[in-house]
């Protein structure tokens, strides 16, 4: 079977294989979160400044994760690791805060209610991202 996958080589790039799937998903989220923040901030920033700034932060984190995955190598891996960690902390923190105290978050961000507005993908994504980065240990050369 020529089209069956074989064992993944140890020096394969971070953004290939399953990493390329993550690249697409992170790319979609980078675009949607930052575009959403841009519209919110440019049209009605005063309504919920905290929520909109967090939207913008989330957008930047997704952009950083996408770049880290695409770039690969030790530095790309580090960028992806840091941004996925920030993403995980962010979605858990904002998710919890938005459930406990809805008053601070009158308008939704990507991470509100653990990303329920996005099918909880924002909650699952950092786990998959961190798993992939962890699994993808650079081989000693």
């Amino acid at each position: 079977m020529p089209d069956q996958t074989t064992t993944r080589p140890g020096d394969a790039a971070l953004g290939s294989g399953a990493g390329r799937v993550l690249l697409l998903v992170y790319g979609v989220f980078a675009l949607s979160a930052s575009a959403r923040a841009l519209v919110q901030i440019s049209t009605h920033f005063a309504e919920a400044p905290l929520a909109y700034l967090l939207s913008a932060l989330a957008g930047l984190v997704y952009i950083a994760a996408t770049i880290g995955l695409a770039r690969g190598g030790p530095r790309g891996r580090m960028i992806a690791l840091v941004s996925c960690t920030v993403e995980l902390v962010g979605v858990l923190l904002i998710g919890t805060l938005s459930v406990i105290d809805a008053g601070d978050f009158p308008d939704a961000t990507v991470w509100s209610n653990f990303g329920s507005g996005y099918g909880y993908v924002p909650l699952v994504l950092p786990f998959i991202g961190l798993w992939w980065i962890h699994r993808h240990q650079p081989t000693a050369s």
């Binding site: 089209d3 069956q4 996958t5 294989g17 390329r20 799937v21 697409l24 949607s32 575009a35 519209v39």
Partner: protein, 121 residues
Amino acid sequence: MNGVLSSATIVAALALAVWYLLRTALDRAPDRIDLTAAGVLGVLVAVLVVVAVAGLFDGSRPADTATFAGYLITTAGLVPTALILAKMEPTRWGNLILGIGCLVLPVLVLRLQQIASVTGA
């Protein structure tokens, strides 16, 4: 937004998503048929986007035209992007890329319909 065209796009995308996820589960790399099917879906989406853009210039615009335009651009770019990434990935993951693209597309089309249904004065 053209209702029939939107529905056709959503149904086609969901059907293809099932197909691509099945291909991923069977550990198959995208073959010619997979890539051609994605290309046909891309053409369908392109027609949808062109019709939607034409709609902006005749009749009532959505109240939130900026967001609508943003979603239109994303919708137009999604399938070609997934196709390019899938071509770069000749493993099972290539089919998963196409499958996820086909799952995201209906969400974008539904959002476009929602935004289009709110028309400003």
